[in-house]
Structure formats: C-alpha cells, structure tokens
Symmetry: C2
Subunit: 185 residues, 2 copies
C-alpha cells in the first residue's frame, strides 16, 4: 500500500475546499451539483467524497473554516483586520454562507460541529479581549465576552450588507467600532 | 356591489400578515403550505390570495414590514428601542426572515420592492441621524448615513444571534452602540 504523506492529504483537502467555495459562490448551494463540484475542484467525485462524504459535509467544513479564519484574523491582526477581511469577501460566497447556515440551523450535525468549534475557539477569543483590557487598550466596564460578541455582531451585520451588495464605508465602520470598544480613559 | 371600508381592508390585511408570520415561524417558508396558511390566518385561500397573489408576495410584504418597523422604532424611540426590539423578536421568525431574504436575493420582484422601500425610507432615517447631530447628541465626525448603516449592522448582527439562539447581553450591546455613536464632546 503506497503511503500518502500528511502534507499531501492537507493540500488535497485545501484544494477541495477552495474549489467547493468557488462552486457554491457561482451556483448557490442547490446549484452546486456533483458534476460542477468535480469540474471546479478538478478531482473525481470518488476523490472528493473520500474526504467529504456529502455536499453537506463539504459545506459544514467551509462554515467551520470561515469562523476559524475570522477568529484568527482578530487574534493576529486585531478587530480592524477582521472588519476589513469581511468587507473584502466575495458577496456571492457570503450570500451562500448566510443562506445555508440559516437553513442548516435545525440540522443536528451542523449545529453540533459549529458548537464544538465555538467551545474550542471562544476561550481564545475572550482571552484576547481580556489581554487588551489588561493592557488598557479596551474598556473594562463591559465584560470581554460582550466586547467579543459585539465585534461578531458588527462583522456579521457587515457580511449581510456585503452579501446584499449594499454600499458600506469600511473606514467609518472601523472607526465607530473602535470607539465603541476603546478604553474611556 | 357592497362597499367595503378601507378600515376593513386594512384590518384584513393585518390579520393575514400576522397569521402568515406565525405560520412561517412555526413551519419555515417551505413548510408553510396553503392549508397551514389558511388555518393559521383563519381565512380561505381565496380570501388570502385576494390580498397576496402568492406565498412569495406574502413573504415580501412581511419583509418590507420588518424593515419599515425598525425604521419606525429608531425614528420614534431612538436606537436603543430598535436594539431592544430586535432582541425581543421570535427567534424562529427571524430565522425564516434571514433564510428567505438571502434566498430571494436574486429574485427581481423582491429586490425591486425592497429597493423601493429603502429609497422611500432611508432619507427619513438619515434625517433623524442628522437632527441628532445638529442637537449635539450624536458625533458629527462620521456622516449621518454611516451612523445609520452602523446601527443597521449591529441590529442585523443581533438578529442573526437571536435567530441562532445565541445568548446576548442586550444592555451591553445598547451601551457599546451608544458609545460608538455619541458625541465626543
């Protein structure tokens, strides 16, 4: 049996997720047929479904990846980096994410996976806000948890605007969000 | 021909919209069959479709009504009233609104109706923010349009949380939003 390196497996997985994202953005969730997924990803259905047993699994992996990425943007680049990241997203892709996430709200597997990810990632995010509070950059009269939730609300609200093709002044958004969170001293 | 008063027509229309909202919330958009709509509204399909020729028209009217209502909440009760209104919404109903609005993003009639409503309502909302800037309550270093958009983002982000059943501290949200918008002097 030929041995396949972890690197190769990871690269394949990334190739599949990238292609699937493009395919969902171009055709919507329902319109992303297996034939279209094969073409956009550049792999056969056998190879794809070896990694993700269903289209739903593919979408769940992408949804988890989106959330992880935004958490990473905040922790590594601060709140502004995450806001600018959301503003620069492909509207079509955001539209699909919002539509399918709300449709899958009653799907047990989806909720279980996103909850598991939130349980894993939220403490890291809250710790980031707490560290900024300790160093005096962020206000301390509102809990770090609520600062994080407010940032998430603004980013999600911005994502809805981007998905809807609504004009938004990103600099103004960054400034208002900054002033909401900044230390009052 | 018996004459029907405008009052009667308006009351009927409100009855239909209320029942349809409950039906969509309980069964989702797809699950809201004509039989279920009849039962929840308490009128025959003939009577209902006299006002709204299709389920899509019913939904569009509800979506327009949601937006109009939030604009009214801001103009009459201020930003805080609108935030508290969103926090108190039925999660199931918000879930349906978010799902179907994103699905109808490519529906010409839907986009046309929401755009018409936005063209009509946005100036009133911007005027409200401008008046608060003139009286010195709201900051003037960010355009009234961008203040309004920021409020919309926070309310929509909050709606996504409510629809997802995510815990939110409404008082903290109100306070952070207030401080983002408040005059710096």
């Amino acid at each position: 049996v030929p041995k396949v390196s972890q690197e190769h497996l990871d690269a394949r997985r990334a190739q599949i997720l990238d292609g699937a994202r493009r395919c969902f953005a171009a055709h919507g969730y329902e319109g992303a047929t297996v034939a279209r997924l094969e073409k956009e990803i550049g792999l056969s259905r056998g190879a794809i479904f070896n990694y993700f047993p269903s289209k739903r699994d593919l979408f769940i992996a992408l949804a988890v990846e989106v959330n992880t990425r935004y958490r990473g943007l905040i922790v590594e680049g601060g709140v502004e980096a995450a806001v600018r990241g959301a503003a620069a997203e492909d509207p079509a892709w955001l539209g699909v994410v919002i539509e399918v996430e709300s449709k899958l709200r009653h799907d047990e597997e989806f909720v279980r996976r996103l909850d598991a990810q939130a349980r894993e990632g939220t403490p890291q995010l809250v710790a980031w806000f707490e560290a900024r509070q300790r160093e005096g950059t962020l206000r301390t009269d509102v809990r770090a948890t609520d600062l994080g939730r407010f940032v998430t609300m603004v980013i999600n609200g911005l994502a809805l605007r981007v998905a809807g093709g609504d004009e938004t002044d990103v600099d103004a958004t960054v400034r208002l969000l900054h002033d909401a969170l900044a230390s009052r001293e």
